[in-house]
């Protein structure tokens, strides 16, 4: 709403300005006409009907006529401006008391509708999947019915007739099912899911900015309604429920721990006490609290205050520090969401994929209530989706193959989330084929990925699948097997400062585990100094810090340097060379060597000195500088200056590439 309004306001003011400045209106009629039509477009796009009318009237006044009285025109235009301003003000002052017709156009109400419907959609999908497994589950039918009923009511209120009609027809079918007059067949589930998809598309359209809204096509509701009606007419014949459980490719989230499920149900009754908050505001809050924590620590360590060691001051400072820490925790927790919603999406995906590929797969989840930063949830959705696709597509075998291997025909995919020492671990396991080491090695050789030596350990072999251009799938399907993807998955996870591990037993299945920090906003960092600049090295990547002796570092053909640390040879990168900064000293013995480990590989980073350890809030450097290799972002340091946060993967990635090309 905001940007549209201010844009309108700006346009109106510019027309007003055009009217009062300088020369006569007659000379600038064309220009004013242009501005008015821009204004009309904008007003129409934003759905301000009163504004649109006023603008159209002004455009009419400008129409050239034989006996043009320019004074009259000018007067009309000025009146028009006054009307425009008034209309704009009214639209702001009283959106809620507008006539019902405008109600449907109110962006705030629409946004509420979208939000609420999205919540219902999530519940509809998960309940439908449960229903598919257990067609007699009355609780699930009731829940889906209630959700569609609510959506129907809201849509009717907002005059979204197509949504209302679809929801209404489906509701009728569900009502029959509720009364036992119609069996929940796979066909019913399919149609209900199709309705959910239809609704999803509508919501996307409603979320688009109003000017672009008409560009997004909406599938017609008529075929869908026809499908629903067909269900109803068939309903009476099929009332004796066929065995729906024998459907090919079924998937439903099965909460392994019943207790957790019961707990969640109990939690749901407490929902009335919740408040919806704009996520932008929440992000700002977390950001500002982060700054406050830093400011607080600055005050506490102020050298001037250190001389004033009175008990009262110390007590108050301790109190301040406790309060800010508590505040930070609360602010962070407000942004935490359970991972369950994400898992629900995967359940739907598994179902659809299994259907498509003629396999049978069932998704089980553990730890749906595990919480993580909502920003992180959005970031891991795509990689996770990709991995689930891989599991269904490559991991799980077709039913015949499974039976031949002595496994149950329905493949089992398990998604498990848990907290481990400040990290969240998401594990995706399947009981399918597992990874075939020979096949991976053969493929890697074919692609020329083994030119630098053959990997020995299992995990090194498995990690080959993350190489760009790698794919072991015998055939390319429309979902996976094109060799893009796994490397993208790993890159994305690394970007989030996480890691992926693979465990696999051939013939028994594979487990991919993602380990991620709970939040992206704050990291523990090591502040290092190079010349006049200070950089922050993320602490999670630091293995040890040492002062090199004269023999620690040796050169290779005078081109590269390496360090011998505890019988391991590690490449050394001089940060000042990498970043082109003038260091305090070029003699390694005067410097500090930081041993960094990522993905099981290590390297040494040479810096001038350590300045300490600090918790920092990572900030983006802005659009223009977002992809600088080796730099993950900026953070405001204790003295108010900006320090750059190093992206250790980027630093070493470049180095290794350069070394390979040399």
């Amino acid at each position: 709403m905001g940007p549209e309004r201010s844009e309108l306001e700006r346009l109106i003011e510019s027309v007003a300005l055009e009217l009062v400045v300088g020369s006569a209106v007659s000379e600038r009629a064309d220009r004013i006409g242009e501005m008015l039509s821009a204004l009309a477009d904008q007003a129409r796009g934003a759905g301000f009907s009163s504004l649109t009318e006023a603008v159209e009237e002004m455009q009419g006044a400008l129409q050239p006529s034989e006996t043009q009285d320019w004074d009259e025109v000018e007067r009309k235009l000025k009146d028009g401006i006054a009307r425009l301003r008034q209309a704009l003000e009214e639209s702001e002052a009283a959106p809620k008391t507008a006539s019902p017709n405008q109600l449907a156009e109110d962006p705030e109400l629409i946004a509420d509708f979208v939000l609420e419907s999205q919540e219902h959609l999530v519940s509809i999908e998960s309940q439908l999947l449960i229903l598919e497994q257990d067609p007699g589950n009355a609780e699930a039918i009731h829940s889906v019915f209630r959700s569609f009923h609510t959506i129907k009511g809201l849509a009717g209120f907002l005059e979204l007739t197509e949504i209302r009609d679809v929801a209404h027809e489906l509701e009728t079918v569900l009502d029959l099912a509720r009364g036992g007059q119609l069996a929940i067949t796979p066909a019913v589930i399919d149609v209900a899911l199709a309705c959910a998809d239809f609704l999803k598309q509508w919501l996307e359209r409603l979320q688009a900015p109003s000017v672009e809204r008409h560009l997004i096509a909406v599938p017609p509701s008529a075929p869908l309604i026809e499908q629903i009606l067909r269900l109803r007419s068939n309903g009476s014949d099929t009332a004796q429920a066929p065995e729906a459980s024998a459907v090919n490719g079924t998937a439903a989230p099965v909460e392994v721990r019943e207790q957790a499920e019961a707990e969640r149900r109990r939690a749901r009754t407490g929902e009335a006490r919740m408040v919806k908050v704009d996520t932008g505001k929440l992000d700002l809050l977390v950001d500002m609290v982060g700054e406050m924590v830093i400011a607080q620590s600055l005050v506490r360590h102020d050298p001037d205050l250190a001389q004033l060691r009175t008990p009262r001051l110390l007590r108050n400072l301790a109190q301040l520090s406790r309060t800010t820490t508590e505040l930070q925790k609360t602010a962070m927790s407000m942004r935490m969401v359970p991972v369950g919603q994400l898992f629900q999406k995967m359940a739907r995906l598994t179902r659809d994929l299994a259907r498509k590929s003629g396999k049978q797969a069932q998704l089980e989840t553990i730890g749906e209530e595990t919480e993580l930063d909502r920003n992180l949830v959005e970031e891991i959705a795509d990689p996770l989706m990709h991995m689930v696709r891989n599991s269904v597509d490559h991991g799980i075998e077709p039913p015949e193959e499974r039976i031949a291997a002595g496994k149950p025909p329905v493949g089992r995919i398990l998604l498990k989330a848990s907290h481990q020492a400040g990290h969240i671990v998401i594990e995706l396991s399947d009981d399918g084929r597992g990874l075939n080491k020979q096949k991976i090695l053969a493929k890697a050789r074919e692609k020329g990925l083994l030119d630098n030596g053959v990997p020995e350990t299992d995990s090194e072999i498995y990690n080959l699948i993350f190489q760009p251009g790698f794919s072991t799938a015998d055939r390319v399907t429309d979902v996976s097997g094109r060799g893009v993807g796994m490397d993208v998955v790993r890159k994305q996870i690394q970007k989030l400062r996480g890691r992926i591990d693979i465990r696999s037993q051939e013939g028994q299945g594979a487990t991919f585990s993602f380990k991620l920090p709970l939040t992206l906003a704050i990291i523990d960092g090591l502040v290092v100094r190079v010349g006049k600049e200070r950089y922050i090295v993320p602490l999670y990547s630091v293995r040890e810090v040492l002062r090199p002796g004269p023999d620690t570092i040796s050169t290779v053909e005078n081109r590269a340097e390496m360090a011998l640390i505890r019988d391991h040879l590690l490449p050394v990168i001089r940060l000042y060379e990498r970043f082109g900064v003038e260091p305090l000293s070029k003699d390694p013995c005067q410097c500090v060597l930081i041993i960094i480990e990522i993905n099981g590989k290590g390297f040494g980073l040479l810096v001038d000195e350590l300045s300490g350890k600090q918790e920092v809030v990572i900030k983006s450097l802005g659009e223009t500088m977002k992809d600088i290799p080796g730099i993950a972002g900026g953070a405001i340091l204790g003295d108010g200056r900006v320090g750059l946060v190093l992206d250790v993967v980027g630093i070493v990635g470049n180095h290794w590439e350069v070394a390979a090309n040399a």
Partner: protein
């Protein structure tokens, strides 16, 4: 003010001058005086410690902390290929709002000194003179004559966007 016949070219020029009229902040770089629209300016501050960002073009001086936000700072002297100058008491960072597509980004530009805020009438503004082939001034919207002095009206969005990004990319890919 009424009907005086004017040639189409002159009308075009007049309407451009009108759209450019308004309030401007003027500043100096070497011997030249520039002006940017006041609407684009968010604030003016003295030069403080700037954190250098590696692998950026020389005219990108780095980033500063603007009340908790990290924003990039560009030295306009270097951007315009003028010789570098030691920063003085008069050197300023003008924080401008750059429109890039639909987003607005804050960005700092370093100038020798800030002069004043002027209101320019259409009559004060002229098109950029044609300097002949080989001299293109893509950043210049027009010229203003005030009390016998020329101010260059700068299209600050243009200065900071398209070409810069390409330039940065070249450096990254190198």
């Amino acid at each position: 003010m009424a009907a005086v016949s004017v040639s189409p070219a002159e009308t075009r020029q007049a309407s451009k001058a009108e759209s450019l009229a308004g309030k401007y902040l003027t500043f100096s770089l070497g011997r030249e005086e520039f002006a940017i629209q006041v609407l684009k300016v968010r604030e003016i501050m003295g030069v403080e410690e700037i954190t250098a960002v590696p692998q950026t073009p020389p005219y990108v001086k780095g980033v500063i902390n603007l009340r908790g936000k990290v924003i990039p700072v560009v030295d306009l002297r270097l951007k315009f290929k003028l010789p570098e100058l030691e920063y003085t008491q008069r050197t300023c960072i003008i924080v401008v709002q750059i429109s890039m597509g639909t987003t607005v980004l804050p960005m700092g530009i370093i100038v020798d000194s800030v002069s004043e805020v002027l209101t320019l009438a259409p009559a004060d503004i002229e098109n950029t003179p044609d300097f002949g082939a080989g001299v293109t001034l893509p950043y210049v919207m027009g010229m203003a004559k005030i009390k016998g002095k020329v101010k260059i009206l700068l299209d600050i969005d243009h200065v900071m966007t398209a070409q810069d990004l390409e330039g940065l990319e070249e450096i990254f890919n190198a």
